[in-house]
Amino acid sequence: MKTFAKRLLIAATAAALMAGAAHAHRAWILPSSTVVSGDKAWVTLDGAVSNNLFFPDHRPMQVEAISITAPDGSAIKPANATVGQYRTTFDLELKQKGTYRIAQANSGLNASWKEGTETKRWRGTMAEYVAQGIDKKPGVELTASSRRVETFVTNGAPTPLKPTGKGLELGGATHPNDLYSGEEIAFTLTDNGKPAANVEVTLIQGGDRYRDEPGELKLKTGADGTLKFTPEKAGMYWLEAEASGTTSMEGKQLKSQSTYVAVIEVLPG
């Protein structure tokens, strides 16, 4: 099966890049509500890697890797965090009005080169890359990889997302907590802060366990990074994008590889 093969391939490349993180299957952070009101607003969230969306059936997400950014930009610790067999659960009190960003993000440098017939791999920082002489290895290829799995929750009116400028990110005219069935969504994907052109995006509505067809929707960003689609049905959606290209770091040209996942809720329009 094509899509299954493709997923395995992504897992195979990524697993070598990021030690410790679970990469196979689909990673997600699912909030109990994406839109809340009142002065005592809480949501509970699940973080997992699973086959079916959004049913935890494989691995929990590592809780230390989860970061929460409040509307004012401050970092908030997950409350009541528990790592279970299949999912990590944690709570968030939304004391501020605006949009909270809940993410598992990581990035790193990876190098590979050939020694005879053997492919050598290395992972570290730019300073180590030079200090260890990896940059002098014959035919070395350096890749900056980044990966972000996130979701958004808003108390009151949505506030604009502040881009981190690292890897693939979601932005654009439509706020991810302001989505309605039958209405066009206009996102913009950026890669390292620049429009991510012609990036393939996969969109799947949750509840695929109850469908014969997984219902994967393949989309592509335009030359300016825009991604436009009109969801027919309300529900929770899993959006994944992958981009590869080149970037420069400390005067060095290198390949870049970026993966992005967002869980977004489409409300009845």
Binding site: V35, S37, G38, T154, G156, D178, L267
Partner: protein
């Protein structure tokens, strides 16, 4: 059953006002369900471009401790999206307790408050209901507004709202 609620609306335009009344009757159906909670209801005026021109009423549990009732305001979904999420609740003259099944009548002074600020033109009154462990429903009544205008209109919901009637008198 008939409950008449006269809302206090601050007089903003003393002197120039031409006293008039916008009266709305909102019927809440009596439902035979195992767990009944009175619906949360928002009433607002929308202009011809679909923007909220005036927030008239929001009926919710205003007396729960710690403003617990505000937790569910987002479930009056269209109202929340269009205006509620940008408001500071409770709102004087707008926040009001939930109402029992039956015909609930509310009156607004058209010479004061948000209605007095409306430019003459075509508008809609929108009533949206959302019931805990129940359904959601929205009805709308188009009307033409000008100071001193008279108009009547009605609409009927199917599940969460009964007859809604509008009477504009000078």
């Amino acid at each position: 059953m008939r409950n008449v609620v006269m809302l206090a609306v601050p007089v903003a335009m003393a002197g120039v006002a031409q006293a008039g009344t916008l009266e709305l009757s909102v019927e809440i159906p009596k439902l035979s369900v195992a767990e009944y909670h009175r619906p949360y209801i928002a009433i607002w005026i929308e202009d011809a471009s679909g923007k909220v021109a005036a927030n008239l009423s929001v009926w919710y549990d205003i007396d729960l401790k710690d403003q617990e009732g505000e937790k569910w305001l987002k479930d009056i979904r269209q109202w929340w999206r269009r205006t509620g999420r940008s408001l500071e609740m409770p709102m004087d003259g707008v926040s009001s307790p939930t109402k029992p099944p039956g015909k609930n009548s509310v009156k607004f002074d058209t010479a004061a408050g948000p209605i007095a600020k409306l430019a003459p033109g075509n508008y809609k009154i929108i009533v949206e209901a959302s019931r805990e462990v129940g359904g959601k429903e929205m009805v709308e009544i188009p009307f033409k507004w000008a100071p001193g205008a008279e108009a009547t209109g009605s609409a009927t919901g199917k599940e969460e709202l009964g007859a809604v009637t509008l009477k504009l008198t000078k």
